[in-house]
């Protein structure tokens, strides 16, 4: 499969990249590791005539105690012992992404901004053409929920839920300056597989930042996938618990792989603060969350199964995160 011609730009600073983005408005994509974008380009999905590579922007690199540069390769993060010890839930998610070969190129920023996925979308041009193109690329209808005029493509990144559970933040740079926000605010919570992000066009993810309390969380991540390598999450559950097991200060739960955006369930976990996180409570939260999620039939496993597994995975992941031996607290 050859790629259609495009012009590659290789800025060395964030400002230079933003300037290029401004001058190419709407006609470019950013390129990080390329492990998500290039397969889509090979399948002739939403091509742009320009790519702005972020590979040479040194500000986007580097891992420290409370910051990961957006261009950090997943393999680099995986090998970073101090990082793994400080944020065990995030480290679990990193190890579960794709394969070691994909992690050698794939970056943290690219993982957060991964294109949403759908069985009817991640296909070659002739495949999509023969069925009739869909809303998300070249067409005007949805094959998953034909009655609606919106896209249900699934957010399938592993890192976002794990980062959202420990209340990590992202720094973005755009035409009107820099801002920071909680990781889950990167996404369009109205639930749209096409307008999937809250970013304004041209904005660059610069880094992930960890507030001081993120280190004190006991955190865990569990991923449902068909093969223990290669496969995207059919469900990804991240949990974080602060404070003693007998009386946690705070509990956070974030889920990916089910809907168009990774979602936190604070309304269900806020009442858990201050009293022992018993098996009965864990079960009740798992049931409540499961009633709220709405997977559709656009990935490998049927949505009903993914829903039922949500209950099981929330239970298991919270149980792992609540006990001091499950995942370490600092």
């Amino acid at each position: 499969m050859h790629l259609d011609p495009f012009e590659l730009h290789e800025p060395t600073t964030v400002e230079e990249a933003l300037e290029l983005a401004g001058s190419l408005s709407g006609k470019f994509d950013y390129l990080a590791g390329g492990t998500d974008l290039l397969p889509n380009y090979k399948m002739h999905i939403n091509l742009r005539p320009h790519l702005i590579s972020l590979e040479r922007v040194s500000e986007l690199r580097g891992v420290s105690a409370d910051r990961i540069g957006a261009m950090t390769r997943l393999a680099e993060l995986e090998e970073h012992r101090e990082f793994g010890a400080a944020y065990p839930g995030v480290a679990e998610a990193v190890r579960e992404v794709a394969t070691p070969l994909v992690r050698a190129s794939g970056t943290v920023g690219g993982n957060l901004l991964l294109e949403t996925r759908c069985f009817f979308f991640n296909q070659t041009y002739p495949w999509r053409q023969s069925l009739g193109f869909c809303l998300k690329a070249d067409g005007d209808r949805c094959h998953v929920v034909p009655q609606k005029e919106r896209c249900y493509a699934t957010f399938s990144g592993d890192l976002a839920p794990a980062l959202a559970a420990v209340e990590a933040e992202v720094e973005v740079a755009g035409p009107s300056g820099r801002r920071r926000m909680p990781v889950e605010h990167l996404y369009n919570a109205a639930g749209d597989g096409i307008l999937r992000l809250s970013l304004v066009p041209g904005e660059i993810v610069v880094a992930v930042h960890f507030p001081a309390h993120a280190r004190r969380a006991r955190a865990a991540y569990s991923k449902l996938r068909v093969r223990p390598s290669f496969d995207f999450p059919e469900l990804g559950v991240a949990a974080a618990v602060w404070g003693a097991e007998e009386s946690p200060e705070k509990v956070r739960l974030a889920i990916g792989g089910l809907e168009t955006y990774p979602r936190r369930f604070d309304a269900d976990t806020d009442p858990l603060a201050g009293a022992a996180l018993t098996d009965a409570k864990v079960r009740t939260v798992a049931e409540a969350v499961t009633r709220r999620v709405r997977p559709v039939h656009n990935t490998f496993l049927p949505p009903d199964y993914r829903r039922r597994m949500t209950e099981v995975f929330v239970r298991r992941t919270l149980t792992r995160a609540r006990s001091p031996s499950g995942s370490r607290a600092a």
Binding site: G34, L38, S53
Partner: protein, 159 residues
């Protein structure tokens, strides 16, 4: 179409070429440089057949722009094979029947060469994890794992 000069090293030899921006490393190797030992399987990151070493690290050449090799060193299966005979990893693959149709073999060999360079005595679990991005449709992996374990005198069947 935008093209520009690319300067890189492939298997120890300096390469200078004018390549289009959208040129993929796999195509540069196979089509421009005629190094056909690197295989094109899925072309989408889902098989590992196209694995090469980029500055020593196993990399999927089908998802890497040729531009990314600028100023860096690419090693393909042709580069690890000595002028005469075989690399110890290749020999072990032959001895253990770890290759059948052979299409996946260059990728497995390069992944294993890098693993053994960084971890000369991996255990079975480490080998399985390291090769988990390479698919083989013929051997069922057992023989590949045994071949890798045996390279540095590990016991192929003992854990």
């Amino acid at each position: 179409m935008t093209s520009r000069p690319l300067r890189t090293r492939v298997n120890g030899t300096a390469v200078e070429r004018t390549v289009p921006d959208e040129r993929i490393l796999l195509d540069l190797l196979r089509e421009d440089l005629r190094l056909t030992g690197t295989k094109r399987g899925c072309d989408l990151g889902t098989c590992g057949c196209c694995t090469v070493l980029l500055d020593g690290r196993p990399t999927l050449s089908c998802l890497t722009l040729a531009r990314s090799a600028e100023g860096r060193e690419v090693t393909t299966i042709e580069g690890v094979t000595p002028a005469e005979g075989l690399h110890p990893v290749q020999r072990s693959f032959v001895e253990h029947g770890a290759t059948q149709c052979g299409f996946c073999t260059p990728g497995f060999v390069l992944t294993s060469v890098a693993l053994l360079r960084d971890h000369p005595h991996p255990d079975r679990e480490e080998v399985a994890r390291a090769i988990s991005g390479n698919l083989c449709r013929c051997t069922g992996y057992t023989k590949i794992i045994e071949a890798v374990l045996a390279v540095n005198g590990g016991k192929p069947r003992g854990d």
